[in-house]
Amino acid sequence: MSSNFNIVEMIDISKSFFGVKVLDSVSFGVTSGEIHALAGENGAGKSTLMKILQGVYTLDSGEIQIAGEKVSIHSFQDARKYGIGMVFQEFSLVPELSVAQNIFLDREHKNKLRFFDEKETIRKSKLVMEDLGLDIDVTAKVSTLGRAFQQLTEIAKAIAGDAKILILDEPTASLAKEEVDALFKVLKQLTARGVSIVYISHRMDEIYRICDRITILRDGKKIVVSLLSEISPKEIIAHITGRKDVEMLTHEGKSIARSSTPIFEASGIQVGNRVNNVTFKLYPGEILGLAGLMGSGRTELVRAIFGLDKKDGGALKIDGKDVVIKNPREAIAHGFALIPEDRRRQGLVMEHSVKQNILATNLSSLSHLNFLSFSKINRVVRDSITDFEVRPPEANREVRLLSGGNQQKVVIAKWMATNPKIVLMDEPTVGVDIGTKVEIMKLVRAIAAEGKSVILISSELPELLGVCDRILVIRKGKIAEELDRKDVKDEDHLQMIVQGIKV
């Protein structure tokens, strides 16, 4: 922190939707040059608060001061005028334009004839990148960049627009470790120049690594503001969940009979050069973890098993019998379910209700001669909502109005209603708050306890360690290690193996 001067001061902000108070007299301040973590469960009010600062929502009462001046922000343009920049989770870049063209989108340099001055745009963009200590080819098309560089371009765009306050919402959600390092380096550099950063994240290690202070919200109220040097992770979790005793995920040793016929066998699975000769077995009631870095081929493997992508080689067996799976319909018929990586894009129809979404996977079992049976539907939907504790428990609510964690519960619920034998889960807890994460992991255990088998992809090693019976470490499309859970000491141990460092 370079000074105690609050560049942003949000005072007693309140906001209601449909008479429900989403923010209740929340005060939030960011000093110039600090990285300020904003934490809380989904639905705690973080994004509403930040959307007010960006002019997406208008506050009901309260006051915003920027650099000591009272301001009113009603649009993105207003926010930009006051130096507030947002780095969007879903990137706002135009993929077919170059990095330079994106950085100066809508503020293009023009020459005397009022044509775009590409040279000047490129020169200025290079300066911005140099300033940030980034080595990005500014003439490259954005679509050819990796996620991390797209994100850095997004930041460069905000900085080139003279942003003094940057809001980052879960910026590392899809970045690999070294990409995170590059991002953090840039963030540190920005703070040295007096830029303030609001950092929204569910990842405790990151918050401790780069943030100076933390503000925790719960149920629309500010619970605490603290220097991170003065608060322990346990305290933070306790403030976020509001529960005194925080349930950490601990592994319950259970024995899996591996002498019986495997419920599922994959041998020599090949998908282009992304998945390379992968062979493994899965037993009834077993939870098999797939560990690995982003891009290691885990997602491609389960997509191929589920029939979403074409397999270039390999064979599958279920209960010892050969099966061929060419599309998701055949996979489902063989008892598979897939909880996909991106629930918003692949899992749900956001504008449809909870009921309609649950229906989508179960059309044939909930109908007779292609006519929907509404009594069955209502029963199944009601049961799903209670069993999976979807909140609020309203069948007709559009899923876009639910929190991330509850959306994920809907995805799991609709697949469990198909009564699958083998459940494939791809990063089921991404962007889900801590309380719900634990609930989802308990669901995974409960699914296995019913005798179903689970293949779980997760980048959160504590989750894998908490529930898996066996862990396959995937590296460059191959199984690099097969680990029995009891042979893994702790998270650091697993991390080393995943990173490929000799233990």
Partner: protein, 312 residues
């Protein structure tokens, strides 16, 4: 912001009924002396709207699946012509089957190109519209083909059951079947899921290509039925029948509250949307406007109404 958008959606759900009521009252007042309210005129509105209603019901499925079909007017014209020729040369059943066959052939082609080859439906059907109209003009050399078969004309046109006009029965049947299919069957859900989020639908094991193929096929077959209705009502087959109906049908669907972006569909709304389009046509004729002015006013009213019904 969320609050206002929710309100907007609620308005959108009932907007068509308000618009219908307002315009009806307006015409009732302004055109009272021109016989707007006479039962004969009101029945006429229903009769003239039947073809649009039938096509709009099918179009609701197409738009719900996030596709579009611009070829329906052309298909109706071609079906009327082929139906009339087959009827003249071979007989009643052959005439009806000939007309329907046009729908099957064009619909299969549309479906194949859209779902399996992956060409945007907007382009496929725009091209197909020209092909269909061109064919219809070619085989008839631009001449109308008169239909002298009274049974055909009764079934598809002027026939009544008691006092109840047969064309109305066609409308109601289409609406009823459409409503049941969209809200009560697995197919309806597959259409909505596909239009709402194709990726998610595919992950769910829904064969989205098959869904898209089917909605395109249904749309064309229904358009060919509409072509037979034109032929029956006007007792001729002619390449011009149905020209421009795609716009009226799309307007009816959007006015009825179906999202232009797919994923939602309202059959009853579509029905009233079609009636509103028919109402406007009728009112403008009664008001004595020349065709050119009718077109201008109709176009503007439709744009305005669709703008009001637009999803925020």
């Amino acid at each position: 912001m969320i609050l206002s958008s929710i309100k907007k959606i609620d308005i959108r759900a009932t907007l068509i009924y308000w618009m219908f009521a307002v315009i009806f009252l307006l015409f009732a007042l302004l055109l009272h002396d021109d016989g707007f309210l006479q039962s004969n005129n009101l029945l006429n509105i229903f009769r003239q709207t039947a073809t649009i209603t039938v096509m709009a019901v099918a179009m609701t499925f197409v738009i719900s699946a996030a596709e579009i079909d611009l070829s329906i007017g052309g298909v109706a014209g071609l079906a009327s012509v082929v139906g009339a020729i087959m009827l003249r040369d071979h007989g009643l059943i052959q005439g009806i089957l000939g007309g329907l066959a046009i729908g099957f052939v064009v619909g299969s082609l549309n479906g194949l190109l859209v779902a399996y080859v992956g060409i945007p439906s907007f382009l496929v059907t725009l091209g197909m519209q020209g092909v269909a109209i061109g064919f219809a003009a070619l085989v008839t050399n631009y001449y109308p083909i008169p239909i002298l078969n009274d049974t055909f004309n009764a079934i598809f046109g002027s026939g009544t059951i008691g006092w109840f006009p047969g064309l109305l029965l066609w409308s109601f049947t289409a609406v009823l079947i459409g409503w049941i299919m969209l809200t009560k069957t697995t197919f309806g859900r597959r259409v909505l899921a596909t239009g709402g989020n194709r990726d998610a639908a595919e992950f769910n094991g829904i064969n989205t290509k098959n869904v898209k193929f089917k909605v395109m096929l249904i749309s064309s077959v229904v358009a060919s039925i509409a072509g037979l209705l034109y032929a029956g009502r006007l007792q001729t087959g002619r390449y011009e029948w149905g020209a421009g109906d795609e716009l009226s049908a799309i307007a009816a669907v959007i006015l009825g509250g179906t999202s232009l972006f797919g994923g939602s569909g309202r059959i009853i709304g579509t029905f009233f949307g079609a009636l509103l389009v028919g109402l406007i046509n009728n009112g403008l004729i009664l008001a004595g406007l020349p065709v050119s002015q009718q077109q201008i006013v109709r176009g503007l009213i439709i744009i305005l109404a669709v703008a009001l019904a637009k999803k925020k």
